[in-house]
């Protein structure tokens, strides 16, 4: 769907993107991660043709990014806004028509979405009379109303209560099921784990991580296993700092060059192995670990 090669962008002397390569396959949810100021917004703006890169190539479905693609992209910026004095309906029509829909088409699609999200009664209200959550929903519909093939969402859940966040999450998954490719930029790692198929992490203008969630997680395994033993037959070594309760004992063990099987058979002599499980890092841990180690270099 989207392929970026050797993209560079700098503002004066500060670099925003350095030799960035990125591949987003069709029909997946792609997590774009990175701390503030890493260059995510610059990348998103370049894909949206708000600004231009200094060098590099961007291809959408194999053809270079051009103004023809504007109607195929939906963009929800992190800092979003609506005309306060405008009515919900007029506003949605305006945004939909700017994306190239005809008056007729815009009307029927907006009606469809308003009904789907139970917002039809707000049609004639002004944005300034809506709650923040309601306005966010209006904004969300405006972003997807033209059925974009590529949807770029920057912190889509901010401003929503848990209930509405759930509704939006379901809509995003629904769009994915219809074949929409989604780029999701967020700091909420739990939604990354829940929604994303692939992730890329950008730090200090460079990509420092890229892959499927599964691959990323497995490559960051600390090679540590958690163990629960019952009915101890033997004292466990002092260095396995353990948590004792009644007659069971819970602790974690590094592999230290052994295979998991060797480790397990070694454990058996101490008692009954109740649980033996590899520690899988959360995306949050990987994120923090990556940024910290990148900062040391």
């Amino acid at each position: 769907m989207l392929k970026i090669e050797k993209l560079n962008k700098s503002y004066g002397s500060s670099r925003a993107l350095t030799d960035l390569d990125l591949y987003v396959p069709k029909g997946i949810i792609f997590g774009l991660l990175g701390p503030n100021g890493a260059g995510k917004t610059t990348l998103i703006r370049i894909i949206n043709q708000i600004i231009e890169g200094d060098s590099g190539e961007i291809l959408i479905d194999g053809s270079p990014l051009s103004s023809d693609h504007i109607s195929q992209i939906g963009y929800l910026p992190e800092e979003r806004g609506l005309y306060k004095k405008m009515k919900v309906w007029d506003q949605m029509i305006y945004f939909a028509r700017l994306k190239g829909l005809s008056q007729q088409e815009a009307k029927s699609r907006i009606n469809h979405w308003l009904q789907k999200l139970e917002m039809s009664s707000w049609k004639d209200k002004k944005i300034e009379d809506l709650s923040k959550g309601m306005a966010q929903k209006v904004q969300f519909i405006s972003t997807i109303v033209h059925n974009p093939a590529l949807l770029i969402l920057d912190e889509p859940f901010s401003g929503f209560d848990p209930l509405n966040a759930e509704i939006i999450k379901d809509e995003i998954l629904g769009l994915k099921a219809q074949g929409t490719t989604v780029i999701l930029s967020t700091h909420r790692m739990e939604s990354v784990e829940l929604l994303c198929d692939r992730v890329a992490m950008i730090h200090k203008s460079r990509k420092i991580l890229d892959g499927t969630i599964k691959d990323v997680k497995s490559s960051f395994r600390p090679e540590v296993f958690t163990v629960t033993l019952e009915n101890l037959t033997q004292e466990i070594p002092q260095e396995w700092i353990a948590k004792m309760s009644d007659n069971s004992c819970h602790f974690s063990l590094p592999l230290n060059g052994k295979t998991p099987n060797e480790l397990l058979s070694g454990l058996m002599q101490y008692g009954q192995v109740k649980q033996f499980e590899e520690v899988i890092p959360s995306m949050e841990e990987i994120f923090i670990h990556q940024i910290k180690s990148a900062n040391y270099e």
């Binding site: 708000i50 600004i51 504007i70 963009y75 910026p77 806004g81 005309y83 945004f95 700017l98 994306k99």
Partner: protein, 436 residues
């Protein structure tokens, strides 16, 4: 193109649908005829009250017989000074004119007593009347027959005619041209300021509410800027046309009603007794009508529309650029100077140079330079401008418009995405130089 049209539509409709637009559009034209009506009404009322005014005259020379007018009657009861003063105090007389005995060569000591401060009109009316009487008396004493004096009295009025290269003649009157140049120049000045500010406010609104990021992901910043400028210009033009129609209709109604109560001749008389005295009835108005009919109204209207729009577009782009560079209207002040100064120079120049000497050097340059020409040229157009000047001025204005729009577009494109930093002129210059 289609997207610019959408922006124009939104900008236009969102403003025209507002209640404040409706109120301003309908009330402003009512205010003009209302003020006019009040003035005419006050004048008419005053005149009615004045017609009863009797002025007692004590003339120790026994020479002056003042003729009564519609406003003032003169009574020669032969009372002495004290009694006459009392009559004023009692309210029996409006005023009292004391003419002591004097040498006709040096008439001094004439005093007017009144309960209230006399108007300029009354004093000059009395002075003119006495002057005429003294002059007649002295001519008579030097042996000239009053009949001859009356015969000799002549009236002169100059009719000015301009001849163009083809030899066609038009009656002209500087007053009419002055008024036309003055009005159209001021209108353009106000229009640029009021609607230029609206552009700026609109850009700041979109920028500070962050709508702009969504908008520019759908269309080019330049399209957005142009759509806004044209849309707001259309609002202004609509409002202006409604005003012209409403003011025209209402004014003619008001003048029609009040005009029946006060003929033109009296209005002139009231304004200045001197002019009234020297003008045969109707000639003044007749000439003005002749002048008005001689003015090339189509040409005037066309150039007004051209400079009206040209000036607005030229400055509109600058206002948009300022709005894009700042986060709030209060920050905009620092960049307003380069826009305000040429406008004020044009405005002052219109009065100091252009209207007084439309073909002078200063007037020429003011009407050629694009930043001042929309206002200054209107001052010249009503007097007639050589077509070479006109072509030069219009060409430069179009060029100037392209230049400011190009420059503003560069600032705008970067400015709308910048938040939290207060740019300086140096930063703006950097933005202009940035390619792409």
């Amino acid at each position: 193109m289609n997207k610019i049209w959408l922006v124009i539509q939104r900008e236009f409709l969102s403003r025209v649908k507002k209640k404040s637009f409706l109120l301003a559009t309908l009330l402003t034209p009512l205010i003009f005829p209302a003020i006019m009506g009040i003035f005419v009404w006050i004048a008419t009322e005053e005149k009615e009250a004045q017609s009863l005014r009797i002025i007692e005259v004590v003339d120790e020379n026994k020479l002056f017989f003042l003729e009564s007018s519609e406003q003032y009657a003169f009574s020669f009861s032969g009372n002495d000074l004290e009694t006459s003063k009392e009559m004023v105090q009692n309210g029996d007389r409006y005023g009292f004119l004391y003419i002591p005995k004097f040498d006709l060569k040096e008439p001094t000591g004439i005093v007017y007593y009144g309960e209230e401060n006399p108007s300029m009109n009354l004093i000059s009316y009395l002075e003119n009347n006495l002057k005429k009487k003294i002059e007649e008396q002295r001519l008579f004493e030097s042996g000239i027959d009053p009949k001859i004096i009356n015969e000799v009295r002549t009236k002169v009025s100059i009719k000015s005619i301009t001849v163009d290269e083809q030899g066609a003649e038009t009656v002209s009157d500087a007053t009419v041209n002055y008024a036309l140049g003055f009005t159209s120049g001021i209108l353009i000045y106000i229009f640029i300021f009021v609607y230029g500010n609206q552009i700026m406010q609109g850009v700041i609104e979109e920028k500070s509410s962050r709508i702009v990021e969504i908008l520019v992901s759908s269309l080019k910043p330049f399209q957005l800027m142009m759509g806004k400028i044209i849309g707001i210009g259309a609002v202004g033009l609509t409002q202006f046309l409604i005003w012209v129609v409403l003011i025209g209709t209402l004014s003619s109604v008001v003048i029609g009603i009040l005009g029946m109560q006060m003929p033109q001749q009296q209005a002139i008389e009231m304004a200045s007794p001197e002019i009234a005295e020297s003008m045969p009835p109707g000639s003044d108005m007749a000439q003005i009508f002749q002048v008005i009919s001689g003015i090339d109204f189509i040409g005037l209207t066309l150039s007004f529309i051209f400079y009206f729009l040209g000036g607005y577009l030229l400055y509109g782009a600058l206002f948009a650029a300022i709005g894009s560079a700042v986060d709030s209207p209060s920050d905009a002040q620092q960049f307003m100077l380069p826009v305000t100064i040429p406008l004020i120079v044009a405005y002052m120049g219109l009065f100091v140079f252009v209207l007084n000497d439309p073909n002078g050097n200063a007037s020429f340059w003011l009407s050629i330079i694009p930043l001042t020409s929309p206002i200054a040229m209107m001052g010249r157009v009503s007097y007639g401008v050589p077509w070479t000047d006109m072509v030069l001025s219009m060409g430069l204005l179009i060029g100037g418009f392209f230049f400011t729009t190009w420059m503003a577009g560069k600032i705008y494109r970067i400015g709308i995405l910048m938040h939290g930093t207060k740019p300086s002129y140096k930063t703006l210059w950097k933005w202009i130089k940035t390619s792409q």
